[in-house]
């Protein structure tokens, strides 16, 4: 009966170790990834790294060349079906690309003629037109291929017009991350938005300190300070999910980010713990807490994205179903970026309280699940710790916290400048 219960401590520990292997390998992958990222950024000093990606939208197929260095290029249509892009750079060019699955594009291939790198884009038909444009820092060359339609065919409705405008409060208030409805030129610098979410509000006051400090008041005070720092120093618009003591549904907080096509979502909270001595700041990003079924579902969507987009655009009923499923895991597509943002914000917060590095953590926070951009939740300090409760009530401490989060954000933007986070 009790054989699996581990009746002696040694047995229980060995059983636990078995179960540890899963999460640990996950961390290893993450660490490996960050390492690779660092390595890549070091190499980038000498070599121009160009990443080629192909993506289908409702009305066109887009080829994006993202480079670590500015490139000079020539574009020519050698044969009716093939576009050749010649790339020139002072330093060696390293091109990486994956397999192509696209409605319009058959293949993307690389070749070299002397010092020139040539990228050939072969269309599936010869009847297409194309336009190109570039975006600065990091350098991106973007080619949009459009099929020339016979007049009889009715063009697809613009997905942008399908926004469920009348039901503002409803969940799918903005297109999901994989949606077809991104505007044709999404990378223009205008109208970049950061959404700041002061936790709780109204009847829902969150954690409470021994001396009566309420979480909802601290979160709003810090959020307002962070907003003013960003607006004073950065070319970002700031949207608050609430600017007074009112209750806001969690789904509307996520919708504020998605409706405004936000670049970043930062939720501000004050912590509470059963452990009375808990202290310090912590930055969280979403733990999908993915069950096997979720993982399969996610893999399915990632693998069949292009195909799905075609179907989503075509079929209204299907579209609604898929949207709901995708919304369920909107944040899944941004976990890596969210983790980096969390890391850079936490690095700044660590200095502030003089606590040991608490590191970044993952937890299944409801408010983050439906946010379709890099998103973090900052636990400024512990209200359950009387000393920190006193600190949290001080204007000066609130400004210091806002400044630290601001600095972490600036470091993130520097690392991934304009458009680096958007697809």
């Amino acid at each position: 009966m009790s054989s699996d219960a581990g009746s002696i401590p040694a047995a229980s520990i060995s059983l636990l170790k078995d179960k540890w292997t899963v999460p640990r390998s996950r961390y290893r992958i993450q660490a490996g990834f960050l390492g690779a990222l660092l390595f890549a950024s070091l190499l980038a000093q000498n070599i121009a790294r160009v990443r080629v990606s192909v993506r289908d939208y409702a009305e066109f197929s887009r080829v994006t060349l993202e480079s670590t260095q500015t490139l000079t290029f020539t574009i020519a249509r050698r044969t009716p079906g093939v576009i050749e892009v010649g790339l020139e750079s002072q330093s060696p060019v390293h091109i990486q690309s994956g397999p192509v699955t696209s409605r319009l594009i058959r293949s993307v291939s690389m070749s070299r003629q002397g010092s020139r790198n040539i990228l050939s884009i072969e269309g599936k038909t010869e009847s297409y037109t194309f336009t190109h444009f570039t975006v600065g820092n990091p350098f991106q060359l973007i080619l949009d291929l459009r099929e020339v339609r016979r007049p009889a065919e009715t063009p697809l409705a613009k997905p942008a017009e399908k926004k469920p405008a009348p039901t503002v409060a409803e969940k799918p208030a903005a297109p999901p991350p994989q949606d077809t409805g991104r505007p044709a030129v999404p990378l223009s610098s205008g109208g970049r938005t950061i959404v700041i979410d002061p936790g709780h509000g109204g009847m829902e006051s969150g954690a409470q300190g021994k001396f009566g400090t309420l979480e909802k008041d601290i979160t709003l005070a810090v959020s307002l300070k962070l907003k003013s720092l960003i607006e004073r120093n950065l070319a970002f618009r700031v949207v608050l999910t609430r600017d007074k003591d009112v209750e806001v549904l969690l789904e509307n907080r996520a919708a504020a980010a998605n409706n405004n096509d936000a670049q970043f979502f930062i939720s501000i909270h004050a912590n509470g713990s059963y452990k009375k001595s808990s202290s310090g700041s912590e930055t969280f990003f979403l733990n999908l807490n993915a069950t096997d079924e979720d993982v399969r579902r996610l893999a399915y969507f990632e693998n069949t994205q292009t195909e799905l987009q075609g179907r989503i655009a075509a079929d209204q009923d299907y579209q609604d179903d898929i949207r709901m499923i995708l919304w369920d895991m909107a944040q899944a597509a941004y976990i890596r970026q969210s983790s980096r943002l969390a890391e850079l914000v936490q690095a700044e917060l660590n200095g502030l309280l003089g606590t040991a590095n608490r590191g970044i953590k993952q937890a299944p926070f409801k408010v983050l699940t439906e946010v379709a951009c890099p998103a973090i939740l900052v636990e400024v300090a512990f209200l359950s710790n009387p000393e920190e409760e006193r600190l949290l009530g001080k204007e000066e401490f609130q400004w210091n916290v806002a400044q630290a989060i601001y600095q972490g954000l600036v470091n993130t933007i520097r690392e991934f400048p304009a458009g680096g986070y958007r697809r």
Binding site: A5, P9, L16, H200, S278, N289, T291, A363, F382
Partner: protein, 192 residues
């Protein structure tokens, strides 16, 4: 007329009395046997040899390192894992005997545990589970994983835990951690 009526009444009342005597004398032996130790749960007193005990490890929070520590306990075993799982949760609510912290509100009661074939345990708490919760991210995380780790660790048939409150799915425990999905255990929170 009146006489025969009185006689009838007398006969009826006599038979009633006889019936009552018969009932109390013959019925006694069986009614005492009936109450099973199974349903009584808390008092395994009268027949100790029929009550089988099962050793379980409960996870409680330590004030010292903020990690979850196992504490061994014996629960009355039961043919269904649901009933045993409910007992484990009851023990978690009762709290530690070694001075560790139970991150489950003491006022909370367990309503029911359901277990699906796929290994999801639906644990239904009374409303106090979230109403009396102190709120706060760390507190909610500790509540969830003290519960989930304890159940998954002790029952092979439990792979993940879905928390219900008062019979319903709840959006968050107390404003932070989402309860709309089943939780997998997180043994990285357990002290080595």
């Amino acid at each position: 007329m009146i006489r025969s009526r009185i006689l009838l009444l007398a006969v009826l009342s006599l038979s009633l009395v006889l019936l009552a005597i018969f009932f109390f004398l013959s019925g006694r032996g069986e009614t005492v046997k009936e109450p099973p130790p199974e349903l009584g749960g808390k008092e395994p007193g009268p027949q100790p040899e029929t009550v089988e005990l099962k050793k379980v490890n409960l996870f409680f929070l330590s004030e010292k390192d903020g990690l979850l520590h196992p504490e061994e306990r014996e629960i009355v075993s039961s043919p269904t894992p649901e009933r045993e799982a409910a007992r484990v949760v009851e023990e978690l609510i009762k709290g530690s005997r070694q001075g560790l912290i139970s991150p489950l509100p003491a006022e909370a009661r367990i309503r029911q545990v359901y277990l699906t074939k796929e290994g999801t345990a639906y644990v239904d708490f009374s409303r106090e589970f979230s109403e009396r919760h102190p709120s706060g991210s760390s507190a909610e995380i500790d509540t969830v994983y003290c519960l989930v780790n304890s159940l998954v660790y002790n029952f092979k048939s439990v792979k993940r835990v879905f928390i219900l409150v008062n019979g319903d799915e709840k959006e968050t425990l107390s404003g932070h951690i989402g309860l709309t999905k089943a939780f997998l255990p997180d043994f990285s929170m357990v002290a080595r």
